[in-house]
């Protein structure tokens, strides 16, 4: 994993700052860095988003492709996650070096979407047992600056919000069914992302916990709690990451903080997405070069 090496003195400096609720970049313990979100950046996709969180830079593309429903869920579509760690982020990711981190993140994404309410999968069904939409959610990690999980979950939510799946009709004919694509390119299904969770990672530093740790702060933290919160404050996943252990009491505190911060994160993300949506085609695109 992309990480930095800090000396003991630097760690102590960061730890003392956290103790006083004043972090190295001037934030408090429950503050996020400024998040930049832009949707609809890759035209080859059904939906895409780019998120910058400090130095962390994420590009997510969602592609809708026709597939067959899974055997145990015949009238639902499904989501497939793939995380690619670009060598541009750090040379360690060259070749197959990024695969381990990629699978870890993809598995976490599967886990946070592993419930009925996150996304209405029935909407993705075209023809029970035969055809459904498969949403390939591909995450591209362009730069690591700490707090990958949160940034990726925000980007995934923004990309799903931006996703437009073409409407299709099923024509019953003798000799089988035929699927007809709608002629109007603007005739499409939008996904309801109200219940899509976002991840809040709380890192334990000293006796306190912080949200949105930078790489330096991640190096000081022995264990963090990763929780995924929906906009209503319900949890869909919790996971301890890191090599240390946590005190039970601090876990409960962290869960409370996570819910509080998560709700705020959701509401501000939704406002930004709605604003961007309102601008419509008049919006000036920043794209990758911005």
């Amino acid at each position: 994993m992309a990480s930095v090496v800090l000396s003991e003195a630097e760690k102590v400096y960061i730890m003392h700052g956290v103790q006083e609720d004043l972090r190295v970049d001037g934030r408090g313990c429950e503050d996020y860095r400024c998040i930049e979100v832009e949707t609809d950046v890759v035209s080859n996709t059904s939906g895409s988003a780019r998120v910058k969180l400090g130095h962390t830079d994420i590009l997510v593309g969602v592609k809708a492709e026709m597939g067959t429903p899974k055997l145990d869920r015949p009238n639902e579509g499904y989501l497939e996650f793939f995380v690619d760690c670009s060598a541009n982020a750090t040379p360690e990711f060259e070749g197959r070096g990024g695969e381990e981190l990629g699978t870890e993140i993809a598995n976490t994404l599967y886990r946070i979407f592993n419930n009925e309410s996150s996304i209405d999968l029935k909407l993705l069904c075209i023809n029970p047992r035969e055809n459904c939409w498969v949403l390939y959610v591909d995450v591209l990690l362009l730069e690591c600056g700490g707090n990958l999980f949160d940034a990726i979950s925000v980007a995934v939510k923004a990309a799903l919000f931006n996703t437009r799946i073409p409407k299709v009709r099923v024509l019953e004919e003798e000799g089988g069914r035929e699927i007809e694509l709608s002629d109007d390119p603007f005739d499409c299904i939008r996904l309801n992302v109200d219940n899509v969770p976002c991840i809040v990672t709380l890192s334990k530093i000293g006796y306190r916990h912080i949200v949105d740790a930078t790489l330096q702060e991640e190096a000081c933290s022995l264990a963090s709690l990763l929780i995924s919160v929906t906009s209503r404050g319900t949890l869909t996943c919790m996971k301890k990451v890191g090599r240390g252990s946590l005190d039970p009491e601090s876990i409960f505190e962290m869960m409370e903080t996570g819910k509080r911060v998560g709700k705020l994160l959701h509401s501000s993300l939704q406002t930004v997405l709605d604003e961007e949506e309102k601008l419509g085609s008049a919006r000036k695109k920043v794209g990758f070069l911005g």
């Binding site: 593309g61 969602v62 793939f82 060598a87």
Partner: protein, 188 residues
């Protein structure tokens, strides 16, 4: 040097490239971002191109990594990669013989076309990729596939090299502007 030291060259720098395409960059979803035949070939081409342009003998026993990531593909991937990588190498302050400018060209209905887009690429027909060191008019890489009558070859190369020189003008301007901006900032 990263990784195994055995790869280090005692008299020059090793140019290490990786060409990777985002899985969503193309019309059809790609199954893997790199490591497939096409990406490996492209990696090799990039490596050859930049070995020709970078003054590798100045850095013996070192390694220069060039990572190219395609975010969105609309034809001319190789050429865009080379042009972007040239700028990156210049930005890194690595001495080069000259800019490397690349452009693709095709030949449709008796007309040479420079810089093919995706639709023009998939229609078939001859395709040529040219990487040029524009000042000395030296070719760093020239590749052509499909069938083409010998008589037309010169016209296509002509079209491609003209486009390369146009690219050179743009790149040079950008580099100079950027440099002026940076030095002005430093001056304050």
């Amino acid at each position: 040097m990263r990784g195994s030291r055995s790869k280090a060259l005692h008299d020059q720098a090793l140019v290490n490239c990786q060409y990777s395409m985002a899985t969503f960059s193309t019309g059809d979803r790609k199954r893997r971002p790199h490591g497939d035949r096409q990406s490996s070939e492209m990696t090799l081409h990039l490596k050859q191109t930049f070995e020709a342009a970078i003054l590798t003998q100045l850095y013996p026993r070192s390694q220069i990594d060039i990572y190219v990531q395609i975010l969105q593909a609309d034809g001319g991937n190789y050429c865009a990669s080379v042009n972007a990588a040239t700028l990156a190498v210049i930005d890194a302050g690595i001495p080069m013989r000259d800019y490397v400018c690349a452009c693709s060209a095709g030949f449709i209905e008796e007309t040479p076309l420079a810089d093919l887009n995706y639709v023009e690429e998939v229609t078939g027909g001859p395709q040529l990729a040219l990487a040029l060191l524009p000042k000395s008019d030296q070719i760093a890489l020239l590749e052509m596939n499909a069938r083409l009558h010998e008589d037309h070859l010169e016209r296509i190369i002509e079209a491609a090299s003209k486009a390369c020189k146009d690219v050179y003008a743009v790149l040079d301007q950008v580099v100079r502007e950027h440099l002026q901006e940076v030095t002005a900032l430093l001056g304050k």
